[in-house]
Subunit: 344 residues, 2 copies
């Protein structure tokens, strides 16, 4: 009998079920919800385990952020910062563990952490994707950061990629662009990733693209086309993709780049071909990373809300709503000078 | 009576003393060293504590990387990767904890970790600086990553910043530069840091500068001057510093930039002023980060050997030499096209 089954029967998140069973009155759960969870536990004969008792006694005071590559690469570290800051406010420590995407390492890491009386787990991914959290996390408060599970009782926080795609298209539409709008950075047919991340399959790509297409369609416009990267979303791959586009004889008016690195590469190729940004070609990208500042003018980029994801995920772990949540966080438009009206 | 005192009396590192007292025959310590440590322990009446016993029994299997900002910012994450990979080979897990530079958080983190039977600590800093590891680490195998302590019994691994400064100067000398060589990125007199890091005082700065000056002097040359950044080592600050240099009427032939972000800012200012890199002005920077790829031509940059630092520090923790080590790791020259001969 697991906490998941109790949560499902009571129609609440696992974290809420855990807090309810442990009588945490500080957790904003209604009396009605607490009673419903207790009833479900009684019906099922559920007994809270040691980890749950640790949670009630507050003995551990420590949360773990378990991810593939978040702390050992430089792409999503602000998620750690956001979670750290929120947990610090609640007087909790945060341990971070990277598994390098290795399932056996993940199993050992989680066994080790659960044996150490961890209060809860933030399960994170460097890039937005679908995950299957291990069964060993069944009875531990759990929130997914920057990833989603098929199991709807597990709360998750991810960026609102579709809305960001729409916002990118809207920026170009508002500047007067109607045609000659390209998207650079799709994956070649049948591919799910490049040399670095073989089974990458980022949710960000189809969602950004869907948002772009829908927003353009709402104004009676459409993409002139998409260009695939050879391998990954790097400066090098962006440069090559833009070179192929120009070599085909196409003169784009505006390019939506799938991330800042690709945007920088596209910028370099345009500049090398004597095309000015934004006078000849407007550029928009996604990420809002330091790389967007490296071009002159700076790339207009939709910022990944990493610190906000970390903070919100920690919030959901600390103060779960009665029901599981699947939060989409806004990707704000950064400042920059890479968008202008279409060239006459 | 502490392990440090035993190590000092025996003239070995604390990690070596710990392993010797625990009879770890897999640790490459000579019989003579082991005997010397045991003698020192007997002389001092030292008894290994629980943590040391855990180490011998191999019960924990977990090492912690404790730092200020390494996992929650995107500047030094490859150190985590390097350590992870080396520890993984030795079948050990790595927990990472950021304290955000807060002493009280650090104290709690270390208490928490030591209570959890951690086998050893990698104590790291995001930027190279001098640290005073807390006394609570006295009896735990400890190696410093990217920082140094006054206590000579504590092993450390840092980049060879002085050699990198010399290499940067050598690149310019070999290209034919003899004068008009500037250094951008010193801190204004009396300042130890900017808005983000108040008491930053990076060891990298004086060491890079010393290496540059010595190498130039060896060829009978010298810096034309240095330019301070307003606040920090950012693209924005680099841009402003270069603008001040040009506004003073100076026409530099070559600029050594303290890091890649400053290099990118300097590049933008030069380009905006109609000066070409490398035809009119050569640029060299330090870090070897993704930002160095964002300019066209790519910045020639001396790469921080972060993954190598992580790997070496883990090595020293796992297989300590008999004596404490203070390793300086080579900063290799990256590829790029920002250096050419002086403009006629």
């Amino acid at each position: 009998m697991t906490l998941t089954e109790v949560a499902e029967r009571a129609g609440v998140s696992r974290a809420a079920a855990s807090f309810a069973l442990n009588g945490r009155l500080d957790q904003r759960l209604s009396e009605e919800t607490m009673a419903r969870v207790r009833q479900a536990a009684d019906d099922l004969g559920y007994r809270a385990n040691v980890t749950a008792r640790t949670l009630r006694t507050g003995r551990s005071g420590t949360v773990a952020l378990v991810s593939d590559f978040v702390s050992s690469t430089s792409f999503a570290n602000s998620m750690v910062r956001g979670a750290l800051e929120r947990l610090h406010e609640a007087d909790l420590l945060l341990l971070t563990v990277d598994t390098q995407g290795d399932a056996e390492t993940e199993r050992r890491v989680l066994d080790d952490l659960l044996a150490r009386d961890i209060d809860g787990i933030l399960y994170a991914s460097m890039f937005t994707r679908r995950v299957t959290p291990p069964a060993s996390l069944r009875d531990t408060p759990l929130v997914l950061m920057n990833c989603e599970a098929a199991d709807p009782t597990i709360s998750s926080v991810v960026p609102d990629e579709r809305a960001a795609g729409a916002a990118a298209a809207r920026l170009l539409l508002d500047a007067g662009h109607e045609d000659g709008i390209w998207f650079i950075g799709v994956l070649a047919p049948g591919r799910t990733g490049g040399a670095a991340w073989h089974e990458w399959d980022p949710l960000a790509l189809p969602r950004r693209l869907e948002g772009v297409r829908e927003e353009l369609a709402s104004a009676g416009a459409s993409l002139a086309g998409t260009v695939a990267v050879d391998d990954d979303w790097t400066v090098h791959d962006g440069r090559a993709a833009a070179a192929r586009l120009l070599a085909s004889g196409t003169v784009p008016r505006a390019i939506i780049c799938v991330n800042d690195a690709v945007g920088v590469g596209v910028f370099q190729t345009l500049q090398g071909a004597g095309l000015r940004v934004p006078q000849d070609v407007s550029l928009v990208s996604f990420d809002g990373s330091l790389l967007a500042e490296a071009t002159d003018p700076q790339l207009v980029s939709l910022r990944l809300p990493q610190a906000e994801i970390g903070r919100r995920a920690a919030d959901l772990l600390l103060e779960p709503d009665a029901s599981p949540r699947h939060d989409l966080l806004d990707m704000p438009v950064g400042s920059g000078g890479s968008v202008a009206g279409p060239h006459a």
